[in-house]
Amino acid sequence: MTRVNRRQFSTLLGAGAASLSLPYYARAQAKPRVVVIGGGAGGATAARYIAKDSEGAIDVTLIDDSETFTTCFFSNLYLGGFRDFGSITHGYDKLQSDYGITKVTGMATGVDRGAKTVTMADGATIPYDRLVVSPGIDLIWDSIEGYSEEAAQIAPHAWKAGPQTQLLKEKLDAVSNGQQIVMVAPPNPYRCPPGPYERISMMAHVLKSKGVDAKIIVLDPKEKFSKQGLFQEGWEKHYPGMVEWYGPDVHGGIKSVDVAAGTVETDLDTFKGDLLNIIPAQKAGMIAAAAGLTDDSGFCPIDATSMRSTVDENIFVIGDASIAGAMPKSGFSANSQAKVAAMNIRGELISSKVFPAKYSNTCWSLIETDDGVKVGAQYAPSEGKIASTSSFISQTGEDAAVRKATYEESIGWYAGITADMFG
């Protein structure tokens, strides 16, 4: 196989411009079509890899309802003041100009699996030979009584990066002396297992660096959480007395929220917060259920060797929406799964080589300035599931130089994965 670098590839595209300007049906007969729903860590990566590695032999369409994409990963660093919003927001222009991907901005509302078409909110249909579904998560609003899409305007979840993240930042920056923040953490399974706890760290960082004397109460439906030892050590060290975490054995169960009153009621007590951050339970993005790809869990079962939906052989589900065995729902996981799906799709459509699936993940979290921690694992298909083959986690008591290097590594990773997604 000849490799073509990006510059040569664009030239090739230029040469092919005549064929690109042909009517759609004429092109459609010549080239297999892949449609990707969702332009995040899974979808953007899948679209880019299919387009890049097929060197123009596959027609790739990427559907997302937004013109730009704000990454959930590093959005906590925006809350903490370590990144500006622009630096975590990316466009799809290079995917179009350098890789020849067609970007459709709009909401996919349904999939006609018999006709192999995606239906858009405006009624348009887009045909596919293979479909990649990577819609991320949707929130289950009624998983907490009293919470709703409307209530989220007062008590933001900020679990999908964008205006919600900016709203939370605005409210966080307004917290003043003697006030209290209450976070309701989500139940498993949810996007970004260490995310709520990194967010608590970033909130505490903002309060501490402004000299604001305020408390953060965390009401968690889980008995334990990701990187717990590392976060609790860090809170003790950097923010003594500021963070109080309560598991279900203490609060006895989260019953309801009243965003107007600013209260969260549990079996133990009613907690009052000047800022409420409510992160509800989650399910696969709406289109997954609309296409009939989900099971009772609300997420999509897949074949562990390819990320192919177990429901439909022409559809692959990747990222947070999939049931990916031992892999956490993370941007890194989605990016890794996208490459396996992309390789299998290319193999089927243009007979390129298919190698055995390998998956990987690493999650970095920032606890305080230059105090980064990480957890990671390798994964492989095993007995029908994606299983962990080896793993590591940062240790408590590591010296400052190691933690600083870990943080710097996370900055490099962010630059790397976003280049891998968006070109």
């Binding site: 670098n5 390789m343 390998k358 790397g416």
Partner: protein, 254 residues
Amino acid sequence: MPTRTTVRMTVFSMLLAAGMGVATATSPAPANAQQMANAQQTAAEPDPAGERLFRACKSCHEVGANAKHKVGPHLDGVIGRIAGSLEDFRYSKAMRAAGEGGLAWSEENLHAYLAKPRDFIPGNRMSYRGMASAEDRTTLITWLANVSAAAPAENPVSEQTSAIPGFSEALLEVEGDPEYGEYLAGECVTCHQPTGHVEGIPSIVGLPRDYFIRSLFEYKNNIRSNEVMKLRVGNLSNEEIAALAAYFGSLEPQ
């Protein structure tokens, strides 16, 4: 392709030899104290403080006998060298342009560069933020000037690779399949950018094959410590390592 059997000396082993005052064939034992003092001044015993400072450099640069390119170019004879001028090293465009513009590595220029590499030559790929202390820079540059100019051949050389468990020179002969490497590289490029851009994680694009393979074995065996790298490399077979070396070696930094 470099010869596989070349005996390589690492900075470490050379420093060891120098630091322990090993007498060499070309520097006969001085006859008296005055000669001794002169010898020390002219042959200038490398300052251990300079060696300590060089630790920050040596994961990417070799200097001394048979020093080879690693992530960065070797530093033999670097003082006075035109920037970006070694023909067998793939420099960034910025570094080549600086050399073409007449930049040479005088001690003075090295001073300015090492203070803030990214400010001195914007767009260069050296993954180092800078050495803040001017005094440290002087110590390092003086040491580097001595070591890089020293006649290398007479020093006894140890073959460090024999110390890496599971590694032998024979592994460098394994033919790598670049197409398989490209697939496997999917795991690497989530962090290491295939363009060679450096933003907190080193570039692995265009690395010499031997160096690439040796480095992965060093991660496998904790000679280099990074948990992420150890995990990713941990279950790679020799063929897979060779495939990755072949693939990344075939890329040009952009």
